[in-house]
Subunit: 225 residues, 2 copies
């Protein structure tokens, strides 16, 4: 799954959350970023169509300003997507990565905002439909500024899983993904002795066995019920 | 009820629907228009706050591009409203006048678009809530280009009623409004003889009596049921 992620933020260098996401995204080798604030990154509709055709998945990544994307994203859509051939996106996925300043609980009926992100951003769902794309569940990050280091690390993996086309709320898929990553990546910046490396590999194997057992158990439960 | 109507359209002179609405709006003496495409009409937040404080009602009027407002409106919101004191709009009304190219039936669950205008534009409802404003039902105009002259005339009066704070789906209110307008305005561009004027006035009086009777009847029905 190859991904292109368009960031709509007036100044990425000034945003700790965007910096964090871009740094995280670098682990995902098949993900490219485009900063829409830099107009030099804008292509005409034909060139953009060609660029987009190389990816399986398109992500719009932005902070929520006045319960919408920053004007930048819409400017780009109005100018470039207006001219895009409707077939060039067919079968691809469209995802949204949204950075929200307020609490998640505000975004529900009866909450302070009173509308869900799905409602507020439903125009992108319809945009995807218009182009024959699959619209993915929104990846929302609430109150990034209050996240602990541990929470940020969790966020990083969930974000990487999202970029790769996964959904961390699917527990089993996400578990498999993490085990796969643990196999591929020894923790960065850590020098390991031969013994430590063996222990690491044993731990990963153990996790994999547990995951297999869990799956067998769930299959069994499904059969019985 | 005084109204200020901000139009977000890249080129009003090129839009027959916007021209029609502005011409219609001239009948409503207490409505002022601001063309946002002309950046000279943009004020800084303080001046805009002062301008807005003079009106009871704010309207955003725009065509639907990609199921949202044109980027122009969001640019203005991001720059000007971002700095607006939250108290300066309290108690006012926010209305939306939306020109939609497609059929109304597309904008519903199961329709081609699959989302309602209320959903697609819910961020404005939340914006109104944020500023302590009353959000009004959306005034939507579908497929303006296919309207007959008679339909356009109906649209004109419904639009004027909306600008004055009314809702044409409230039949009795709307009826009273039309009678009031008929009293005030003799049809334009028509020279009437004394006899014709008397006939016109008699007709209006007759309509008013019918409206009174209808109201009495409805009150009676309400008492009985």
């Amino acid at each position: 799954m190859t991904t292109i992620c368009y960031i709509a933020h007036p100044d990425i260098s000034d945003s700790s959350s965007q910096q964090f996401l871009i740094q995280s995204g670098k682990w995902q080798q098949s993900c490219d970023y485009v900063d829409l604030a830099n107009k030099q990154n804008w292509l005409d509709a034909e060139q953009e169509g060609q660029r987009l055709s190389q990816y399986d998945q398109i992500i719009f990544q932005f902070p929520l300003y006045w319960y919408q994307a920053p004007a930048l994203l819409k400017q780009w859509l109005d100018v470039v997507w207006e001219e895009l051939p409707v077939e060039c996106l067919k079968g691809k996925s469209l995802g949204l990565v949204i950075v929200v300043g307020a609490k998640a609980s505000h975004y529900q009926a009866g909450g302070r905002v009173g509308r869900t992100l799905s409602e507020l951003l439903s125009s992108y769902e319809v945009l995807a439909k218009h182009f024959g794309m699959a619209f993915r569940p929104i990846f929302a990050i609430y109150q990034f500024q209050y996240l602990s280091e541990v929470e940020k690390q969790r966020l990083m993996w969930e974000y990487l899983f999202y970029l790769s086309g996964g959904d961390a709320s699917h527990f089993r898929q996400y578990q498999r993904y993490l085990i796969e990553q643990a196999k591929l990546n020894v923790p960065k910046g850590v020098t390991m002795s031969e013994v430590e490396r063996m222990q690491w590999e044993q731990m990963v194997t153990q996790l994999e066995l547990s995951a297999d057992e869990l799956e067998e158990l769930m299959d069994l439960v499904n059969e019985v019920s």
